[in-house]
Amino acid sequence: MFIGTEKLTHIYMPGTPFANQALKEVTFELSRGEFALVIGPSGSGKSTLIQHLNGLLRPSSGKVFFEGRAIGSDKAELLALRKRVGLVFQMPEEQFFSETVYDEIAFAPRNLGFEENIVQTMVEEALDEVGLDTTVLPKRHPFQLSSGQKRLVALASVLSSKPEVFILDEPTAGLDPSGRSNLYGLLKRLNRENGLTVLICTHHLDEAAALTDTVLVLQGGRLVLKGPAEKIFSHREQLYQLGLGLPAVTEIMYGLSEQGMKVRTNIYSLEGARQEINKLKGRCEK
């Protein structure tokens, strides 16, 4: 087991009238290099779940595993864990506090106790990884950047500590379409080329679905569905009942199929849809 949970339950403010059970016996595991998606309606426990994976929240009961070992409460161990499991919060640019992009990205490596010359290479590599300029940009004030650039800097500020697992909460919230596709391009590269295990929480399946290996579906704190993307997305009715739906391209394929055309419905990317429709066209012309 690379990373996962076993019967993870979390209760906010236990023992008060405001007690709120956010997670109920959630069990799942991911292998190294997987691209996973956590979906579920608002308030279903997605954010609570991912905050357990790098030890920010402690389970009320149950366990969280990383590399087969249960996450404990030892401080040094937790710091080491947070280096290896990077977590990007929702709207991460709101956490900026430094006067330069450089300092912002250097925050994590400095906290981990690296020497300044090593920190510098780590910052440059992180900027390079997210595809940002490493000459002028590091000296600029983070608030001067465009929203897409800010988001990339926020990602770089977590990538700078060289995590093996990269967890993102609604990474595309508030981005324009080009920012969104740019970001998913980056995530794809990190996963496929650099071998990072990626876990994303999102409502927006359009860009994410085509990249995904595993899907976890949360509802009211319970893990109601988990498995390979293809299997989960075939539960169309159930996903609709949860208020989730499918990627737009998949919907189109379902629509075509309902019209009596012979197309596959397990299509999650524009490219796949284009190929499938071309095939259909070819058959019609024959």
């Binding site: 906010y12 947070r82 900026f96 906290n111 977590v158």
Partner: protein, 265 residues
């Protein structure tokens, strides 16, 4: 998430005390406090104390919340007890250690003072535990209204207080979120020297301020868009009504107060 933070001391419930009009509750508390200090006899105090206990049971607020409320007065109470026990003379000598004596009059007066303090705290907690901070603010601002005639912007002050209250949970949630975000980037808010710890707060305070100012801007814009103007007369979404029972409680308390003052009870 927003439900996960307790605001003030309010403990939700459906009891009679919860449903009393907040303005009248405030007035009633004032009368009870006056009564507590005018009472001279043990009997009256004990009756008031038991009424407090009965009211506490009806609210269904766990008793430990009331005990917790006593903590701040613990030392004052202990101090008063020692002073009264050892330095008040009169009555029978109960205990003699060297030249220090504990006499019955001292014990009597000491216990009286403590019981009065505890009852006072219980009644105050009955108000704050059963009333939302927002209705408390509106209740207070109602009594401040006359100050308007000497040029105090009472409506605006009430608005400021209400907005401040409304944003306390938001800012607490925000600071928690920021703290977690920075901790997950390896920040440490707990260890190190005072200087280091103060420095480690920068990554928390800067974004918190930036966020607060952004929110304030957005709120001001939204309020203006809905026609908010300083000095304009405003009506309220929920007009609170004063039920006969509110008047009844107030009347009973007044009668009790007057009798206790006149008869020296």
């Amino acid at each position: 998430m927003s439900r996960s933070i307790t605001l003030g001391q309010y403990f939700p419930g459906q009891s009679l005390v919860h449903h009393l009009n907040p303005r009248m509750k405030l007035l009633s508390l004032l009368l009870v406090l006056a009564l507590l200090f005018s009472l001279q006899s043990y009997a009256g105090l004990v009756v008031l104390f038991f009424i407090a206990l009965i009211l506490i049971t009806t609210t269904r607020v766990p008793f430990r919340y009331f005990l917790r409320g006593l903590r701040p007065i613990l030392y004052i109470a202990l101090f008063a007890l020692i002073i009264y026990f050892f330095f008040t003379s009169g009555g029978v000598v109960l205990l003699r250690v060297g030249f220090i004596t504990v006499e019955s009059e001292g014990v009597r007066e000491g216990t009286f003072i403590i019981l009065r303090l505890v009852t006072l705290v219980f009644y105050s907690l009955l108000l704050t535990l059963t009333t939302t901070p927002l209705s408390l603010t509106y209740g207070l601002s109602y009594f401040l209204k006359p100050l308007r005639y000497i040029g105090m912007p009472t409506e605006e002050v009430a608005m400021i207080m209400a907005i401040a209250l409304r944003f306390i949970p938001t800012l607490m949630e925000e600071s928690q979120r920021l703290m977690r975000a920075q901790v997950s980037r390896g920040a440490d808010f707990e260890s190190g020297s005072i200087f280091r710890r103060a420095k480690s707060l920068v990554p928390l305070i800067v974004p918190l301020f930036v966020g607060a100012f952004r929110r304030a801007d957005e709120l001001a814009l939204a309020m203006e868009a809905r026609g908010y103007r300083i000095g304009a007369r405003r009506t309220r979404m929920y007009e609170d009504s004063i039920a006969p029972r509110d008047w009844l409680i107030l009347a009973v308390l007044l009668v009790l107060l007057i009798t206790s003052v006149y008869l020296g009870f």
